[in-house]
Symmetry: C2
Subunit: 308 residues, 2 copies
Amino acid sequence: MNSEIKIFSPATVANVACGFDVLGFCLDTIGDYMTVRKVDDKGIRITNIKGFDLPFAPEKNVAGVAALSIYRQLAPNCGFDIEIDKRIKPGSGIGSSGASASGAVYAINKLLGEPLDKTQLIHHAMQGEALASKSLHADNLAPAIYGGFTLVKSINPLQILSLPTPKDLFATIIHPQIEIKTADSRAVLPKNIPLSDAIIQWANVGSLVHALHSSDYNLLQSSLNDVIIEPHRKQLIPHFDALKSNVLKTGALTCAISGSGPSVFALSKGENTAKLAQEAMQTTYANSGIDFETYVSKINVEGIKIVE
Amino acid sequence: MNSEIKIFSPATVANVACGFDVLGFCLDTIGDYMTVRKVDDKGIRITNIKGFDLPFAPEKNVAGVAALSIYRQLAPNCGFDIEIDKRIKPGSGIGSSGASASGAVYAINKLLGEPLDKTQLIHHAMQGEALASKSLHADNLAPAIYGGFTLVKSINPLQILSLPTPKDLFATIIHPQIEIKTADSRAVLPKNIPLSDAIIQWANVGSLVHALHSSDYNLLQSSLNDVIIEPHRKQLIPHFDALKSNVLKTGALTCAISGSGPSVFALSKGENTAKLAQEAMQTTYANSGIDFETYVSKINVEGIKIVE
């Protein structure tokens, strides 16, 4: 059994259009690298953090809390040193904390001979996520650990569905470098919604799942439509309407808020359209005075990967 | 080309648990028989109605209005005589008007060499349904015409998805012989619902579609759960809680309101469990003082069938 493992822990998109709070998918070209080493000294230590200024104390670090959770359950006769090469900016809306939390539990489970299944890993990773988001949720963790598209059917009991991923599907991301406070992104959400809107939304969720199973891109396009959350949250993202309008003109299937923003994602059939969507995003933001990053990525159907 | 056709037009279940307004399925052992004859005399005539006292004037009869709608579009150089052997009691909540409307358009389309596709047939059948329900809806028509499970993605434009049907799935129906006024079944529905409940419902709808695709009976069971409509509408159905509780004890996957009631359906894996569910329904209602009928049916994956 290896005593050291290096992994790529991917960024993920949650709240996928109609699937607020339940649907997510996994990215391929954006993610953190983590090296986890099995050592004689018991306990969890974070020994190195590159990229961003994050706490080293395990109980104050998302990866650390997740690692402590799995470590306490498995109680192995060893400890773990964790090095984090953080590439996903915290607060970007593409699962930065989810990557840290899921990466830590994935690596420790692997180094101990995989005693836990994927759902159990998500349970432990959720403890780390809760440090960042103050609530238990799995919609970024599930795609990171399962890969592809996932549906969080319920949190209690934890029930995750791994959905099929059509093979030509590509994502485009723009990350405007602004901060959206979690409190603000929650405050704009309505507590109650019209039943008539909810019916449209659940018809879309059902249709989206059918479209993923049948690789029906036209149906994906008409299902990836959010009538409930986006009208409220888009006000927090500068130039959202122009961004969406310009991206959809390229032939992209959808353009919607990633997680609770500020990142915005598009999904496209084929890499060419995904790159056109990227250009449309860049053009829209070029004169905005707001710094931004963009990415194009195939949907990552594996999730976390061992790189060494 | 035949100049006369006899069809079986099946009863259907709409508002399937979590899928209010969008999900339906088709029954096999309950349905109307209709004989439609192509004649030289132009126009639509209803020449015989057995079973229930319904209007003969085409424009006042659900089958007649649907027939007139397709007839006007296709404008053939002939007419049609329609005989209806009505077996599904109007107002039962298992698609009585849907069977009449879909049967009429199906038969006329067949006798004219099938110029229209299934979605177009539903468009015309909806005109007949509207006579009975005062609104355009397709959730009983879609399973009658497509068979199996269907999802009405949208009415305008009309978009119907045909979902896979796991092969061991059986339905049980109890029809308590009471009348629920459409106005009452609408009045009890909330205009607004909590976002948190809507999220549970769309997670269930997505999971149900995945369960149908993967023939996952455990997931069917945990997805066929309605947190939004049933709590309000169940008050209109005597002994609903006892009925549901007794049916679920048999191992049935779900027990929920069919359409807007008063019929209640169960879904089970295998005919044996479906028959146990039937016994549980009969026992629950035995001393209620309310007349009732019960049925067990395989899911009908064909929809309307030609019998002669």
